[in-house]
Amino acid sequence: MEFLPNILFVIALILGIGFFTRNVKKLSRNIKLGKDVDVSDNKPQRWRNMVRIALGQTKMVVRPVAGLMHIFVYVGFIIINIEVLEIILDGILGTHRLFAPLGTLYDVLIASFEILALLVIVGVVVFWIRRNIIKLQRFIKPEMKGWPKTDGNLILYIEFVLMLLFLTMNAADYQLQQMGAAHYTEAGAFPISQFIVPVLDGLPMSTLILIERTAWWLHILGILAFLNYLYYSKHLHILLAFPNTYYGKVRPQGQFNNLESVTNEVKLMMDPSADPYAAPPADAPEPEKFGASDVMDLNWVQLLNAYTCTECGRCTSECPANQTGKKLSPRKIMMDTRDRLEEVGKIMDANKGEFVDDGKQLLNDYITPEELWACTTCNACVQACPVSIDPLSIIVEMRRYLVMEQSAAPMELNNMMSNIENNGAPWPYNQMDRLNWVNE
């Protein structure tokens, strides 16, 4: 029976990591449903972006309050992982405070974890107040009803509880150390949890051990559960922000890609020696669909973008269309893309990995043409996004589908386009009048 806790711990660990791995595989399969895109260019710039934006949080601090609180939570999260490593090793080996022989360094480490834990609590509380009491504009948009709202708050509750458990565990431990309990060697410094100690005063040693063990177990099980919760949450960004900022746009923001399939056709059309009536060779691949009507038509970076979106709404609050009451919200574009991709993934899971048409698609069932046509392509959303997401690229791909596959542009735009075709200008003027301004 002596090894029971160790065995239980190892089982929990294997289950936790096993489920997580399964989720990661699903995630990677779904992202790979996207089309290939060449992102092998500009490597130094890409690394710089990742270090600056994801690691350095440069875009977060554009909004100072949110930025600072986010840095607390973020640094706290990273540093506490060292503590988690100790917990895991203790759990497997049945030791207690395995790193204690580090001496003073260990004291410093534990003390800084405690301070960070407190800062995380402060950050989480401020975030909660902003979401639920102040109700910042961007957190109460229509797309934030239901799960996205619950998700946002759940994360805060979980983090709060995890930190509280951590401090409780330390407080009980500290008390036990003072009492000279077996197994609880004196180690660590407890600048924050010492304030919880008085609450535990007078409790018998067995109760204290129970408290310490319970907090310890809940803390680590909580972390494992949280790891698995990520996949279902906007919190996935804590992992994906890194690849996402690496693969983010490195060209000037105004530069849209030139569709290669179109280039080939246009070249053919403009080549006087080509026979316009020639039948395509029998082995020709099926003509490519222009633009995107569903998630599989997007490229994998766009799908990675969708999974990375933190639903912070910074894009939407900068969007001129959204600010003037139009239906377009770049955040909703990203959330819709993710939801649809998840749906496609589920259909594949249910059909042995094959996608079976469910009669739905991203266009119309999730994103309406009205939203798409409201975009001014101003790039404010791209600029604002703290994790280098490009909602505009998805909007443009879907417009391309509407125009080139469905000829479904608004009438005025059709007029504009036929003017360009006929007169080389978006207005119905004669090309011969192009130089009239000289003599006016």
């Binding site: 009451g325 046509w373 101003c378 080139m404 735009l413 360009i420 080389g424 200008a425 978006p426």
Partner: protein, 263 residues
């Protein structure tokens, strides 16, 4: 107002067996839109003043296709682009200057992938070059004591990170430059981009240009400066919506410089 402008076409340069220093890409708005034509003329006056040997394509110029691309018509865009590239490459054009940030962006960033590689400048960048090289001097007394606020065009600013050239040019007029709350990277769009210029806006509470003009009016300006013909139209309409057309004018940076020189 027709003081004679010196304008030569590429064909004329060819006939003389010469190459111009730059090609001035006038753009569709600059060629046909009554308000934008004034910007075109102002810029040409500055070029004439600086003795720049420039050419236009004239009746050979066609839409860059930019607006078709933003609307999603990649076909039309590439057809236009390839036609233009054939023409430009035929004339061995090296440098292009334009007053339209949309043409600027597409010529600079999207044409190279289709075989059209040029050194492309926005007119504020080129004017800065002329002034830096001492070819053009602005003695600015006309706007002294006036408050000017500059509206960053999305396709010059955020899209291509050029925020300084237009501001530096405006400072030449000796006017007082005042910044809107959101400017440079955080500037609000005028509402014309992405082909919105050519259609009615979607349903909402307000038009974007009215909101943007509000930003500008908060700085108590005498003049709203623009660097894009579409922004110019949008801000002018915005001023009308706020009934401020008697006290505030909308002028392109090129017009402000030309006026400073009494051209």
């Amino acid at each position: 107002m027709s003081e004679q402008l010196k304008v030569k076409t590429m064909q004329e340069f060819m006939a003389e067996g010469k190459q111009p220093e730059i090609l001035f890409w006038v753009g569709s708005a600059g060629s046909y839109d009554d308000r934008a034509k004034k910007i075109t003329r102002a810029f040409v006056k500055l070029l004439n003043k600086a003795n720049v040997d420039f050419a236009v394509l004239g009746t050979e110029e066609s839409s860059t296709g930019d607006v078709a691309k933003r609307a999603g018509n990649e076909f039309l865009f590439q057809m236009q682009a390839m036609m233009n590239i054939e023409l430009l490459n035929g004339y061995e054009i090296k440098r292009i200057v334009t007053c339209d940030p949309h043409s600027f962006n597409t010529l600079k960033n999207e044409y190279p992938g289709l075989g059209g590689k040029y050194d492309v400048l926005h007119h504020t960048q080129y004017l800065k070059e002329l002034i830096d090289k001492g070819r053009l001097t602005i003695e600015g007394e006309v706007y002294k004591g006036k408050r000017i606020t500059f509206h960053d065009p999305c396709y010059l600013g955020r899209a291509n990170s050029e925020y300084e050239a237009p501001r530096e040019m405006l400072s030449k007029t000796n006017a007082e430059l005042v910044e809107m709350k959101r400017h440079k990277k955080t500037a609000l769009c005028c509402g014309a981009g992405g082909a919105q210029m050519f259609k009615e806006p979607e349903k909402g509470d307000m038009d974007i240009n009215v909101l943007r003009t509000q930003d500008a009016l908060e700085t108590q300006p005498n003049i709203i400066a623009t660097g894009c013909p579409y922004c110019n139209t949008m801000m002018t309409d915005g001023i009308k919506a706020h009934e401020k057309e008697d006290s505030v004018t909308v002028l392109d940076v090129a017009e402000l410089l030309a006026n400073s020189l009494n051209l």
